[in-house]
């Protein structure tokens, strides 16, 4: 009797776990997301990410789904989710989103998709790698380059001013040297003409 009771309990638990597992699968996404590839122009140009949506059960392409890509980005110490772009999946279930990556390296991309007839979007996370030598890929397209008009001109200007200031300081050093030589014969205290300006000294 006791062994029968144990068997019933074990069987009930097994059935319960199976029901629970099946319910979890059903509640999860019924669409599978896979990354077909990512590409990027050299020098921080636009990148493209391709994802394919297929139904989880039959593996059929999911067409005309609204696909939005997001990435977590940091700027000035503030981190937030940035929308990279939005598009519709084609007949093969492929959605291609073009965007300007800000930095090289691994990126976690959040893919939100909403199929026709669904009111709430579903989401999945994919991982892509952006190639690049430096971490900073963004390059401003603003401005025009005038040959010769650059930061070196500014530095040359500032350096010139400071060199002239240095020449003034050297004049002060020369004054001290001349004074040292004059002190020897007549002592430290200057005579009255010392304070009367160049008019009396022939300057």
């Amino acid at each position: 009797m006791k062994s029968v009771l144990v068997k019933v309990v074990v069987a009930s638990m097994a059935i319960g776990m199976a029901v629970f597992a099946l319910a979890g699968t059903a509640g999860a996404s019924h669409v599978k997301v896979e990354v077909l590839g990512s590409s990027q122009d050299p020098g921080g140009g636009p990148a493209a990410v391709q994802v394919r949506l297929r139904s989880a059960d039959e593996g059929l392409p999911v067409a005309n789904a609204t696909v939005t890509l997001y990435a977590d980005e940091s700027f000035g110490g503030v981190t937030g989710r940035v929308e990279l772009g939005q598009t519709l999946s084609d007949q093969d279930g492929v959605a291609t989103v073009r965007f300007h990556p800000l930095s090289a390296g691994d990126h976690q991309i959040r893919v939100e998709y909403r199929t026709s007839g669904e009111s709430q979007p579903e989401a999945a996370t994919i991982s892509i790698t952006m190639p690049g030598i430096t971490s900073q890929l963004y390059q401003s397209s603003a401005g025009i380059q005038i040959p010769g008009l650059n930061v070196w001109l500014l530095m040359a200007l500032v350096a010139t001013v400071w060199v002239i200031l240095l020449s003034v300081a050297l004049r002060v050093v020369a004054i001290a040297h001349d004074g040292e030589a004059a002190e020897a014969p007549r002592g430290r205290r200057a005579d009255a003409s010392a304070y009367q300006g160049g008019a009396t000294t022939g300057r």
Binding site: V151, L154, M155, V158, V161, W162, I164, L165, S167, V168, A169, R171, V172, A174, I175, A176, D178, G179, E180, A182, E183, R186, R189, A190, D191, S193, A194, Y195, Q196, G197, G198, A199, T200, T201, G202, R203
Partner: protein
């Protein structure tokens, strides 16, 4: 020649008097200034402890009294450059009794102005980040470069003409003042003996510095204006901001110099050297600059107002009719028109008239910087409700401490260093005596150097 010798002795006595004699009023004045600075330091300690939330500045209007006062101080620093360098270049002999004051105002104003930039920082411990992470393309870096270069050049330009006077103090005050002062004069007079070679060196150095400092001074306030003009804010979208700021800087600098001159003249009995002529001449300069400022205002606002884009309309309403109307019209009428009239009308063209005009100009120019800064931030960049700004007691206290520091540094300078350029005044007198054509006094009359040789 006896009169000349007596006159020179009197000049030296007058120049040495502030150093050797100290009145009770001096201590009271210094104690008052220290109290104001102390209160400001307490207010700033609250800001350091609690952050910029204790000020009226927020995210939408993030500059207020501090940046206003910074721009104001940088502006008045142009007093030294204009009065000393430009008048020296143009050989205007009447400048000699007032050059030292002008040069010292420059240095003190630059120091006080630079302090206000640091005070405006929420995290002053990160001030060196502007160098460590600065970009050459940024007007902020240009500003740092320009101000540090100007401060260095101004100190050099203050110091160079003072060397012979420091030697005079070194020799005349030996045994009459404390040892540290003699040590200081000895150090700073760089073994001055007045040899021909030394006069040649100092002449060349002063000439180099005076030519160099004029473009540096112009660049400083131009770059300060670019910090505004290169920011995307409707009221700051101006191509004449640089010239406008430089003219305003010289305007307020001359006015500040006139006020300082009037106070020091009265306190230290410099009436023989700083005469009504100096006030009137500087007053003429002030009136000319007032006309330039009026022209700048009309040119700027008429062209912008004729087109009146959306942001400009908002700005014009707040500036001429609403929030800032009181400030603007006081600035234009009280700070430009009335001072001009006070100087140009013959019955107010005297010391008191010029000083009153200068007080109005200084007040108006501070107010002008205030409404330029705050009204610029108030114009919405997006369709949100316009923000407001009202300074708190912390900002007012710190600003008052800044002005007290300015006054204190000038007060202390006068107690240590020669208040007037003794050798230059004497040289001016010498040239009057040497050149018969320039002799303006009857034989035997007491020479009046401040009146002689003026152009």
């Amino acid at each position: 020649m006896e009169e000349v010798r007596t006159w020179r002795e009197r000049l030296e006595r007058t120049a040495l008097a502030p150093v050797t004699k100290t009145s009770r009023g001096y201590y009271v004045w210094v104690a008052f200034l220290l109290a104001v600075i102390g209160w400001g330091a307490y207010a700033y300690s609250r800001q350091l402890r609690d952050g910029l939330i204790v000020t009226g500045m927020r995210d939408r209007i993030s500059w207020g009294l501090y940046i206003t006062t910074f721009v104001f101080f940088i502006g008045i620093s142009h007093a030294g450059t204009l009065i000393s360098a430009i008048l020296r270049v143009s050989h205007a002999r009447w400048r000699t009794p007032i050059t030292r004051m002008a040069e010292f105002i420059t240095v003190v104003a630059l120091v006080c102005g630079a302090i206000f930039v640091i005070i405006d920082l929420g995290r002053p411990d990160r001030v060196l980040n502007v160098i460590r992470y600065g970009r050459w393309q940024s007007p902020i870096i240009w500003d740092v470069l320009a101000i540090t270069t100007y401060l260095t050049a101004s100190i050099a330009y203050l110091f160079l003409p003072m060397i012979p006077d420091l030697a005079l103090f070194r020799d005349r005050l030996a045994g009459r003042v404390s040892g540290w002062r003699i040590w200081l004069y000895d150090l700073l007079s760089v073994r001055w003996q007045g040899t021909r070679a030394q006069w040649r060196s100092i002449g060349a150095a002063i000439t180099t510095a005076m030519i160099l400092i004029i473009p540096i001074a112009v660049s400083v306030h131009t770059v300060v204006s670019w910090i505004f003009a290169m920011t995307l804010r409707e009221p700051w979208n101006s191509t004449i901001f640089g010239a406008f700021f430089v003219a305003g800087a010289i305007f307020s600098g001359v006015a500040t110099l006139i006020i300082v001159m009037a106070v020091l003249r009265k306190v230290y009995h410099l009436e023989e050297y700083i005469t009504e002529k100096h006030f009137v001449y500087l007053g003429y300069l002030l009136a000319a600059l007032a006309l330039i400022m009026m022209y700048g205002n009309i040119s700027e606002y008429l062209t912008t107002g004729y087109k009146l884009e959306e942001g400009a309309e908002f700005h014009f309403r707040q500036l001429f009719l609403e929030q800032f109307a009181g400030f603007y019209w006081f600035y234009f009428i009280g700070g430009l028109v009335v001072p001009g009239l006070l100087i140009l009308l013959p019955w107010t063209r005297n010391i008191w008239g010029v000083v009153l005009a200068s007080v109005l100009v200084v007040a108006a120019m501070w107010i002008e910087r205030y409404f330029i800064v705050v009204s610029g931030f108030r114009v919405p960049l997006m369709p949100y409700e316009p923000s407001t700004y009202a300074p708190t007691w912390v900002e007012l206290s710190v600003m008052a401490a800044g002005f007290a520091l300015f006054a204190l540094l000038i007060t202390l300078f006068v107690k240590v260093f020669p208040i007037i350029a003794i050798w230059e005044v004497a040289e001016d007198q010498e040239s009057v005596e040497v050149a018969p054509a320039a002799r303006r006094f009857a034989p035997g009359a007491t020479p009046e150097p401040a009146e002689g040789g003026g152009r």
